[in-house]
Symmetry: C2
Amino acid sequence: MSRLSFWGWGREGAGPDDAARERLAKSLGERFGRPDLRAAPLPRLEEITLRAPRIAPPSALAAIASSDPWERARHTYGRSYRDAVRAQRRDFAHPPDWVAFPRGEAEVAAVLEHCTRERIAVIPFGGGSSVVGGVEANVVGDYRGVVTLDLSRMARVLELDRSSRAARIEAGVLGPALEDQLRPHGLTLRHFPQSFEFSSLGGWIATRSGGHFATRYTHIDDFVEALRVLTPTGVIATRRLPGSGAGPSPDRAFIGSEGALGVITEAWMRLQDRPTRRANASVRFPGYDAGVSAVRALSQSGIEQATVRRLDPGEAATSAGGSGREAILVLGFESADHDLDAWMRRAAELCRDHGGAVPDDALRTRDDAAASREGSAGTWRNSFIGAPYVRDALVSIGVLAETFETAITWDRFERLHGRLIAEVGEALRRVYGAGSITCRFTHVYPDGPAPYYSLLAPARRGSELEQWDEVKRVASDVLAEEGATITHHHAVGRDHRPWYDRQRPEGFARALRAAKAELDPAWVLNPGVLFDRAAARSEP
Amino acid sequence: MSRLSFWGWGREGAGPDDAARERLAKSLGERFGRPDLRAAPLPRLEEITLRAPRIAPPSALAAIASSDPWERARHTYGRSYRDAVRAQRRDFAHPPDWVAFPRGEAEVAAVLEHCTRERIAVIPFGGGSSVVGGVEANVVGDYRGVVTLDLSRMARVLELDRSSRAARIEAGVLGPALEDQLRPHGLTLRHFPQSFEFSSLGGWIATRSGGHFATRYTHIDDFVEALRVLTPTGVIATRRLPGSGAGPSPDRAFIGSEGALGVITEAWMRLQDRPTRRANASVRFPGYDAGVSAVRALSQSGIEQATVRRLDPGEAATSAGGSGREAILVLGFESADHDLDAWMRRAAELCRDHGGAVPDDALRTRDDAAASREGSAGTWRNSFIGAPYVRDALVSIGVLAETFETAITWDRFERLHGRLIAEVGEALRRVYGAGSITCRFTHVYPDGPAPYYSLLAPARRGSELEQWDEVKRVASDVLAEEGATITHHHAVGRDHRPWYDRQRPEGFARALRAAKAELDPAWVLNPGVLFDRAAARSEP
């Protein structure tokens, strides 16, 4: 296996090669009427100039510290479109001064202690897949330097309780290594965000990650049984409890805290038996906005689907073999316990009631592994996991490839969606001269969907960030005005701050800052995500 | 309808009458070998001496203020065993000085403002059914007086969103009035705690109330879509969102805050269609500890039961027609959408695999209303709703009737349960000379059960509180030592404080107090629940 890319998604060389990028440039050049689109060379480490570290690790931490240029470059950004553009420009202006790789909680504590004493900002870092500036080493404030705290060496399943189906797991483990350790026990966390291969358990918890599954267990939140969090003022360890009514949940206070209230070092996680039976179907709905009412009916039926992913005709055509004239609903059930015929039969009935065409062979539960990989569901899953590599390739040919996502109640969805398609579409044409916006539902709840929008447009070399900022602002302002959330599962980080500040009640912001000042009095933990030290709100 | 009892459960005269109480005394006297047990006269208002109010309501609040003795007496306590004992003794030593009945948020704000300015403690009060001292008007600290803030006049459904199945509801509404307002729309909150008739929406949210249903939606937490909370420093209103990943959940910070961080004035609540189909069964398991493994298998099957209530042989005999030699599992499914045959069939299979005897007629879905009221399920439900009246009658004849509940992971349940049965049983015999402890599961999770223990013992007149304190301490210490929660759904209040203080991580306590100081700087809101102003921990 090649080493991790210092600038882009995943492993070096794993994305589309030069020839594939040229083909992509040609095809999109034709589509957008921009024959000038060309695949630019990808960044190489020797092209990158990093400023000299402003601070050096103390000798007591030398064994776990690195100032190696590859490490500093690799920890400069997350993996957003903005990050890929800056990497493509060879702009690594604000790398961390050094990177710490603690092997256990005592070493995490030593780093926090050193940084608190020396007034050094600390950026907790799991897989580094943030798409919202959550791990960016460029911090504002009176800090002598920045240390990135990379938890990748804390990656073990420490304890496993088979009867309760739970495990105590170090926070730095990435998705595949976690599942590898659970598989021999027949268990799975069954949490598969798109970043699965290169994101960590601690990162999922700190950002309220959304998994692959559409209903029931959408966010990591519900899988957390207990947490262990290290703060500059001590350890916070919660009890393993299946449920509790003792005061506000301490776990929930740290789920979504984005490294600003403490460093999650371990968690007891609820696991599941590995599913052995599946029933899948691709249901077709004629028309652009078709299928929404079916999804609502499904979400309120009490029959919880593992997958209920509505792709609009644009998304269906590119990723699930659609004709471009019909929406596709990818529907799936999974179980380790029972056949799913009754579940799928009722779901199919509901789809037909709402105008969907359900293939007859969908109604049978299958217990072969192929069931999870075939058909539109399989096509879609492959394009899902590979998408971030393609995004980087698109950036290299000068094309905007971005997404944003939200959640809103059913009664307001149509209006929100209409405004987004119209106003973001208009902004794309105005700013980029061309472009497309498509929508899928990634998660659905009885009270509303989580729509996910994908954008594609030909950018102007050198103006990519300004162009995107302009369109992102249009989208985010619509979300704020319509009362939707600025993020359903991409977190706040630094990029979403202006709109999060409008969304979050001011009194809650004050309470959070007071809690932060108590736990992290020197204010060294991930400054700038979620809130600022000063009470003043940032404005978009 | 008679007015509410000023001292006991529910409405005046609704509990067992004098003759019934005498029969109860005779029967329990024989059972416990205590022929001296007699039904004492129930408290009458004219027997109660209340101290003169220390403070008077300001004229601006006169229209919503009451210093009426019945109101002051009625708001002196919650409805715990300790409260009933003190009422039975005519001990109302610490009534609130006056009671406020705001008709809307502006009046709540006016009360908070007045009390903040005048250093008066404020006890938010919904239905007043706390069993943990959560609304007790006896507060410690430098306060000029105590005002109870009774939200019962804020009881309307203000807005209803049929498509998202959600409603905006004033926090003071009691269970039946809430369901009455939802019924014409075919909707229900479907949250039925034992206190349902005399507890409020705001109280459910503030205490993380547990409903009747055993899986999936156990706590009120998951039904909260958005909150409106009034604090002495302003309103906190969260957005209506089906799901969100934007920072730590602001709703979760106030769910379980027990009136100490703010007054919940309104909530958008997630509703459900009213179930029309049901499948019920009573499954019998021979032996005292039988049926536990079946419950674990059910909880991990992915087939979510509305009811899966395991009664041990003692509980089964008294409330579900059991023989005393077998445990009974009350199993039920409900749906507004689909027949439940496949669900019940699989659940029955699992029960049989674990040694359960399932009646054949259980396997059919029924859509007649009787299905919800018949058989052991029905017997059990009636005794469930009536139980608090019986508890008061037992107190009047000098019998301890108390419960405590917890939750713990499956791997530790057997040890915890064994210790509780042995050590609490021993404490009952030591302190009371006789007594029984029985167990049911009220809620189950894939990672563990929520066992609920009921105690019955003949008390010594005049020493009831000391006797109960001694046994409660034994039980609570075992919960703490075994890492269980001090409460699964009865909240912390003032009574659970010593053990909650051990359970809650110290750093989280500091963060909570910092948040409290920010939102309620004069520290007037429900002082003494959850935490004290001083950082020192209380000790059991």
